[in-house]
Amino acid sequence: MIAVTVRSIERLGYNIIEAIASWGRSWIFLFKTLRAVLSLPISIGLVFRQVLEIGFNSLLVISLIGAFTGAVLAVQGEYTLSKFGADAWTGPMIALSLIRELAPVLTALMVIGRSGSAITAEIGIMKITEQIDALRSMAIDPIKYLMAPRLIAGVICMPLLMAVFTLVGIGGGYFVGTVLLNLNPGAFIQQIRAAVDMVDINSGLIKSTVFGFIFSWVSCYKGYTCGFGAVGVNKATTQSVVIASVSVLVVDYFLTSILTKLFY
């Protein structure tokens, strides 16, 4: 009984130390990646390939999710606001919800699920099949070659995808609101123009940029430090998606609080 308790405490202690060490290693990895980003030249071709992979190839799924999110917001918004005779405000409600909150967060979660897992798996497989060792043996810094382009692409793509999500979402809301719920099309647009300020858009873009940074950092780090074999890649990919998603939601709360204080 005592031995089991001691072993449990030992295991707990080991896990805590390992978690703190991993946290520290992830920061060292980030600093190395940032140094690689700043030490020019960075291959434009490599960045472009990642922009295609993370950004362009996510367009369809982001548009689909955006359209249906906007549509759902229209149905729910019209239902709630009509109780107060304020259904004319459905448009601004959709637009502000999307721009300030839903588009940055949902875009980030979708990109993490789609591209984050792919980045972790790709880098993890490169590690276990010695491709990263091969790079190093050819005098190429794997952080500069593999991680820096992905970090840059993540920061570029996330705000752009968020903008697409927002526009398509407003389109979806407009279609459902005006065609199916008989809201006035002119008032729908006009109310959005009156209600949405530049600070709302900036707030959404800042959030997306930060989320893009977190997504790239976590995905690359987890791939680069993945364990041995298929199990190692599997574990790293799962951890990557979970850690990045939770981080986005936690950081979202703090960013929302800070940006609301700063801008409003």
Partner: protein, 252 residues
């Protein structure tokens, strides 16, 4: 004869597991030295230490007089790595690019920009290793034997002074395995490098070896020419050569 690589008192551990326990070894210039030993004895670790991919706790690795083990920065290590070529165990080709781009990769990595020169060198080495028809395939479309040939072409394209072969015919059938040995002999004659071959395939690997070194329990157990190895009366060497279960080599 001068030594291209001098290893002195090399120690490497992973956690509490001691892998290399004071290895000293000289690899003569222009010759092929084969490191043999049971699985898990640290042969591939030794190769990665020579390439500067891993760092030892204690010891020196002098490559043409420069101590890879004491170099702190990647920049310093890179100056030596540019004189090395490595054929990895699974070839370690980059999946997302064609065979042509894989072979050209070390040249581009060294800043070579002249497309015509790159093309000439890639086609020349591909022709020598009978790879011309595969140049525009992706690595995953090829068999392991051909992928290893591509890996060899990539290791040789920059005409390195030293080529490291990590278990060059693991996973290959005897016919393709023999082909890889023939290619090592051919490329050694054609490019004249110093070779280090990691293998546990005896006596097949002797045909490409000038010297054979056997690792066991983190130390050098035996070394000599292939002929001396064949005549060895060391119980571990005999057990390893004959592939017997009983003897000083314990299955871990």
């Amino acid at each position: 004869m001068t030594a291209a690589i001098k290893i002195r008192d090399l120690h490497k551990s992973f956690g509490s597991q001691v892998v290399l326990d004071g290895i000293s070894l000289e690899i003569p210039t222009g010759k092929i030295t084969t490191i043999v030993g049971p699985s898990g004895v640290g042969k591939s670790v030794l190769l990665k230490l020579i390439a500067g991919i891993l760092t030892p706790e204690i010891g020196d690795i002098l490559i043409f007089g420069e101590n890879m083990a004491k170099m702190q920065s990647e920049k310093e290590k890179n100056s030596i790595r540019q004189r090395l070529g490595i054929l990895f165990q699974g070839a370690a080709l980059f999946d997302s690019i064609s065979v042509y781009d894989n072979i050209a990769f070390p040249l581009k990595a060294r800043g070579m920009k002249d497309r015509f020169e790159i093309h000439d060198r890639v086609t020349s080495v591909a022709d020598s290793l009978s790879l011309t028809r595969y140049l525009f395939n992706l690595p995953q479309e090829l068999s392991l034997g051909i992928r290893k040939r591509v890996g060899l072409a990539r290791a040789l394209i920059s005409e390195p002074d030293i080529v490291l072969f990590d278990e060059p015919n693991t996973g290959l059938d005897p016919v393709v395995g023999q082909e890889v040995y023939d290619l090592i002999k051919f490329s050694k004659d054609r490019w004249g490098f110093t070779g280090v071959v990691i293998s546990h395939e005896l006596p097949e690997v002797f045909q490409v070896s000038d010297t054979v070194v056997m690792l066991l329990s983190g130390k050098i157990r035996a070394s000599g020419s292939p002929e001396e190895f064949m005549r060895s009366e060391d119980a571990a060497v005999i057990q390893f050569m004959e592939g017997r279960k009983d003897g000083p080599i314990q299955i871990q």
